[in-house]
Amino acid sequence: MQLIPCPWCGPREEAEYHYGGQAHIAYPDDPQGLTDQEWAQYVFFRDNPKGPFAERWMHSAGCRRWFNAVRDTATHRLLTVYRSGEPRPEVPTP
């Protein structure tokens, strides 16, 4: 089983984690002012790159903290993890 490094607890089995989708999607500043189309973009539309992708994960069976990870979607390799609130680190392209 793949090990995912929690920024608090260290490497743990993938089964201890929950996936949370794309990271760094800011809540709209003025939700009332959004058109239906913009609202749909915010709620439903996500990037789908092949390669490094910043995602949210939660260590649900451990410390139950959300954190961010950059994962290569082609290899399923976790390139880096960082605590929520921290900026996305530079990841050397493999």
């Binding site: 608090w8 607890c9 260290g10 089995e13 201890e16 069976a61 451990g62 410390c63 139950r64």
Partner: protein
């Protein structure tokens, strides 16, 4: 590890421990008054626990701890609430959420290795380790009470509703079935 050593792991339940869930910012103003009540500062290193005069202090997250005290320690929660009141933080009595199983014997780490991926060798998990993980698909909090190779003692905190299942699982592994 021989089957004999697994079979000789002593498994005892320590029920009805007083358990308090404590949430606060360790860098905030509530940290010092809480430490004064407990007689020690809360551990801030991830996945550790520390013994304090008033309770065992278990790190569960960067702003969350579980305090273990003997059964019916009725005065701890009110004193903590009193200390925290002018600041930001919460104290919740969660005593009935979990029960504790204590495993003692040289075979104890190997017994758990049948269903748990945590490396329980003293090199990785010395006395003072406190991890939340999965054991046989069940969420547990695992404490290394004593890492002495001749007689290690491990404590499992498990949700009350999962306790009969986990106790049977431990029995099955110990008896090799």
């Amino acid at each position: 590890m021989t089957a004999d050593q697994l079979a000789r792991v002593a498994i005892t339940e320590t029920p009805r421990l007083t358990q308090l869930s404590l949430r606060l910012d360790p860098a905030g103003s509530s940290s010092a008054p809480v430490a004064a009540v407990l007689g020690a500062r809360l551990p801030t290193a991830p996945c550790t626990w520390a013994a304090a005069p008033e309770a065992d202090l278990l790190w569960l997250g960067p702003d969350e701890w579980l305090l273990l005290a003997p059964p019916d320690t009725a005065d701890l929660a009110p004193s903590l609430r009193h200390a925290i009141a002018p600041h930001f933080g919460t104290v919740t009595d969660v005593s009935s959420q979990r029960t504790a199983f204590d495993l003692t014997g040289p075979g104890a780490p190997d017994l758990l290795a049948h269903g748990c991926a945590i490396d329980l060798h003293p090199r990785s998990s010395p006395t003072g380790t406190c991890v939340q993980t999965l054991l046989a698909q069940t969420g547990v909090t695992l404490l290394v009470l004593d890492d002495a190779p001749q007689a290690p003692t491990l404590r499992l905190l498990v949700r009350t509703s999962f306790a009969p299942y986990l106790r049977s699982w431990l029995g099955d592994v110990a008896s090799g079935t």
